[in-house]
Point group: C2
Chain length 660, copies 2
């Protein structure tokens, strides 16, 4: 039953075999990290279920996220609803604009996402060009051809003009920057057809990505499943501020499910219709976007891809410190820079390879008009660079639009050291009449009047002196005000409190994408056998921390297994027993695939002497010690108090033949 080397420690060589996505996907499916949802019903594109190791890995990443962000910075956690009535997304702009451009195959009616079509076809042509020029597309050769066939456009070796190659590359470098009509022009210009059928496609049209439904039995209340958790934060701003005793800055945080009705989901966990996000909304004074903890991160070097570089069709990275990036105004402000650094630290901590992590700035057309700056943390995978975290300065946009739509203030207050004395037009409302006339809309109509400004108020006074006046809000709803309802007068006011709408810095994490990218980074195969996969997950996020494995499934081991299980549980270490009939080697291999970092093995010596061996996943090294000693070492390893080198100093090397 010898399946592992027994003569001394195995030298680790994590790059002995080139990465193949097919092998990783096969492992993840066999070990039930995840699987297509409703698989026995044929599945639905873009919906996946997580099995036991996938759920645990996902939960552990979230646990670290909560510690790294929420607890470390005393953020205010929220849990808001997914089902959202339509007016909220009408205000936020999602009903009008949260859409992708799709094109229809003119003959089959198949629907394709316009940008993905352009991208796929141009990439295939460039690849064909390389082949024609005899340049081996090395990275392609590494990908399982069976898997690849389904996802990418078929390549034919056709040489292109140098000018065309240059043009395609420029387009691809700014593929996220095009509007629908521009994508339509590219499709025309480059003669792009549906690669599956060879048929031409229609002009791009918009498809809203929100799932809709109806709330209640009447069918009259339209609802959407949220495509992000952010609106739930903004709507609760006033309650959050009160909870924080009125103090600014502070942050709210939420972990929750969101939904996007993708046009044609592909790329496994990277583009799905239902996913877990974690979002932070950090509220700051627009006049002061400094961050008190910025000095702690300012010397950290990150890899930046700035917008001007991309707009020029290039992709060079500048590796500079966060301090330099903010000082040069490449990154707009300290708070934004602080969060980029914190995002980097989080992703590194859970095991993402920092050489395959970059921060890409949004280009002009990509970024919402109100945003002052936006960066994506992108992780490199076999699918290319994947946006895993967005980090945007959303200015005062969200709080302002919701306040306008509802007439409810969403503002913070600051006591001024020096009061400001002002003379200004002031409306005085006849509250009783106002309430009777406008009822539930009273606050909204007040907000319209209060928002008129000096000149507007003067004009309203003049108009009212002639009779009733009709006013309207941003939605076009109209209200009639009579002269009895409001008196407008110039008044002297002493302002000792400054009222302002906070700006919002928003780091937003796609946990499934981070998880999949991480799995690609930690996967490798033993030098001895390309089929023996290992997931070198850090203990912190590994689904199971320790495997307990008796040399056979005989009854004699049961009391010891029970004892060790309960000791590890008491130490807070999540362990699992594998007492199946498979050979020790097979059981180790299974747990290497599950990413379990440590294994405690029991043999007959354990029953007699109370010793057990401790195996480390990556090196397959084994140590030996008394049960209590080993439990203590495992605990320290799992909680980061000790590394394997340290463990080797605490316990003697095991030289027996047990690990076979």
């Amino acid at each position: 039953m010898a399946t592992e080397a027994t003569t001394g420690p195995s030298p680790i060589n994590k790059t002995a075999h080139p990465f193949t996505r097919g092998a990783l996907e096969d492992l993840l499916s066999r070990r039930f990290f995840y699987a297509p949802a409703f698989e026995i019903y044929g599945g639905v594109a873009g919906l996946y279920d997580y099995g036991p190791p996938g759920s645990a890995l996902h939960a552990n990443i979230l646990h670290e996220w909560r510690k790294h962000f929420i607890i470390e910075e005393s953020m205010l956690e929220l849990d808001t609803t997914i089902m959202t009535p339509s007016p909220v997304f009408e205000t936020s702009g999602h009903v009008a604009r949260f859409a992708d451009w799709m094109v229809k195959d003119t003959k089959t009616g198949d629907v394709l996402r316009a940008d993905h079509l352009v991208e796929g076809v141009l990439e295939a042509r460039l690849k064909g060009d390389k082949e024609a020029r005899g340049v081996a597309a090395t990275e392609e050769a590494e990908v399982d051809p069976k898997k690849k066939k389904k996802k990418a456009v078929k390549t034919t070796a056709v040489k292109l003009d140098d000018v065309v190659v240059q043009e395609y590359e420029t387009v691809l470098n700014q593929i996220d920057n095009y509007t629908g009509p521009q994508l339509g022009e590219l499709i025309q210009k480059f003669n792009i057809v549906n690669p599956d059928t060879g048929n031409p496609v229609d002009e791009p049209v918009q498809f809203n990505l929100m799932f809709d439904s109806s709330i209640g039995p009447t069918g009259k209340i339209k609802g959407y499943l949220r495509p992000e958790t952010a609106q739930g934060h903004f709507l609760n701003f006033q309650r959050l501020l009160a909870f924080n005793n009125g103090q600014i800055p502070f942050a709210s945080a939420q972990i929750g499910r969101s939904f996007r009705n993708e046009i044609s989901p592909r790329a496994g966990l990277l583009r799905v219709r239902e996913f877990t996000m974690s979002e932070i909304e950090h509220y700051v004074d627009p006049l002061d976007k400094s961050h008190s903890r910025f000095p702690e991160v300012k010397d950290l070097k990150l890899r930046f891809l700035a917008k001007d570089v991309q707009a020029a069709g290039r992709s060079e990275i500048s590796e500079i410190t966060v301090g330099e990036a903010v000082a040069s105004k490449m990154v707009d402000n300290e708070t934004l820079g602080y969060f980029l650094a914190r995002i980097y630290l989080f992703l590194s901590k859970i095991g993402v390879d920092h050489d395959r992590l970059r921060f890409r700035q949004h280009m002009a057309n990509e970024m919402a008009h109100y945003a002052s700056d936006c960066w994506d943390a992108e992780i490199e995978t076999s699918y290319g660079w994947i946006e895993c975290v967005g980090c945007a300065d959303r200015s005062a946009y969200d709080l302002t639009v919701h306040s306008k739509a509802t007439g409810k203030p969403l503002v913070a207050r600051q006591n001024l050291a020096e009061p400001i004395v002002e003379e200004k037009e002031t409306p005085e409302f006849n509250l009783k009449l106002w309430g009777k006339t406008f009822k539930g809309d009273g606050d909204r109509v007040k907000a319209i009047v209060n928002g008129l400004g000096e000149d507007g108020l003067v004009k309203l006074r003049d108009d009212l002196s002639k009779g009733p006046v009709e006013v309207s809000d941003a939605n076009g709803d109209k209200f009639t005000i009579t002269p009895e309802m409001v008196k407008i007068e110039k008044k002297t006011t002493k302002i000792s409190i400054r009222e302002f709408t906070p700006n919002v810095i928003e780091p937003s994490f796609g946990i499934g994408r981070i998880m999949y990218s991480l799995l690609e980074h930690v996967y490798w195969a033993r030098e001895s056998d390309a089929a023996r996969g290992v997931l070198s997950l850090p203990p912190m996020v590994a689904p199971t921390k320790c495997l307990i494995v008796p040399i056979s499934n005989q009854e004699v081991f049961q009391p010891l297994i029970k004892d060790i299980s309960s000791k590890l549980r008491a130490a807070g270490v999540y362990a699992r027993v594998d007492d199946s009939g498979a050979s020790i080697g097979k059981r180790y291999a299974r747990n290497d695939e599950l990413g379990t970092p440590y294994g405690c093995t029991l043999d007959f010596a354990s029953v007699q002497n109370g010793t057990m061996t401790l195996r480390e996943r990556d090196t397959t090294d084994q140590l030996i010690g008394k049960v209590d000693e080993v439990v203590e070492v495992v605990k320290d390893l799992v909680f980061g108090q000790l590394d394997w080198e340290g463990a080797c100093k605490k316990l003697p090397k095991y030289t027996g033949v047990q690990d076979v």
Copy 2:
């Protein structure tokens, strides 16, 4: 600034003030445990957001749940999608039957839930009868009248005949047992009208409680938001079994959001349209429903309300041991009994009052036809007895129907000690022709043939000898089989493996309901002042474990605060600082309302001597010690290693005047 007694410990009297729901709801809203979702847009009935203390309490309950169930019993955790394609719920029966009966006001068109209408009106008449007889309805007097008015039907003091009172009570005791037409008859018989308008109502009609949507851009794939997480477990059964190395029994577990489009949500968190559930599906051999850990719980006494008692219109509790309940067959089997006990232990552990907890058995009409037994854990609140956990033996129903609908086996296998030799009709398929003809439906059509039984196979052989035969499945889909496709022959087979469909025992928890009920149980007000509410949450689930409170917000305390914060964090204790300008007494009061069990107070002596005081929430007792000693005691208190009495032995009583 004296707001708390300073002369010795306050005697606790948790029942000095009668419970009023209004006072509790006011506290929960002010402290942002939860609030109506989209409040600034006017809200939507049945949708609530959790604020910081509510999210933390909710997360802590789930954390304990995961420890108590998943980790303790090595259950296999899952995380499956909410969005579900229609065929899944067509098979499970939800599309046809997951509905409530509603009635429409014949004039206004307002929609009411039929059973709630009958219940509300009869309860109001019984209350009126009591008033007319001069019996004070004591429990009513305790409820905030303002809140009550909105929710219940108005009472008029009218005396009823004794026979009528008896009849109403009988109906109310089995209100969950009526079908829609029966509710219609009750409405006729008792002249029930819409209490809000006085108008008659229509006949009850069914309203499906699932939210629906459409998946993808074509509009052709109908989807539903799951109303429970269970189907996600069943569909993955074969993968779960493989993960468990083929061994039975085992359990899968899932925590996740579910949705029910309630007709007229009411009663706050108790009836909502979106909620978090945690569900366990425990798979057992139908021939052996014993449980290996049953002996650990068999002597535990629970309060049972059996179905025959209810069917007789009564409501007496039998308080007997789980062992007796199973032995007498009142509870169907050991595994079901084991989970009832585990549910009881979990609810008690998090702070539910066990005298206000009972297990009610479902009556015949309430229970699904396939279930062999079902019990609800009900918790008593100001709204009455509330179903918080369901625990059903669902037999082989779910796995059987999904297997039939998809043609995929959902079965377990057992090696037989003695092989069984059988002679039986056996179909032998021409796989190539079969696949070519039926393509994706091949497995389903095979399942139809395999499911015909001995007689059916003999008949099919006869029919095929005459030419092609049409067969159909449960959905009515038809397929034509030709004689070339299958050969049916009598064969002798030796069966050494028994194949069976496991039965499922399902404990299903509504976490929001448990949380609200718990809040009612732990709420009380200080004897000195009915407005000074306290939430006596166990430390295990309290949102914040320890308050750090400097006597003033002067700069001098900052280093000490930082030091203590980091020491508590290192000890794993979640603490918050309150250095707002409010008086110490006000800050304590705020944290009593938040349920924070411990408070560490810093004064100028702390800065000089490195001491601090430790305050206990319920007694308001204070102890004093060196910072490190106090941190150690807090840690032991929070992790249940020490109770307050023990703490008083470790640290001296504080007799100064700091706590004022």
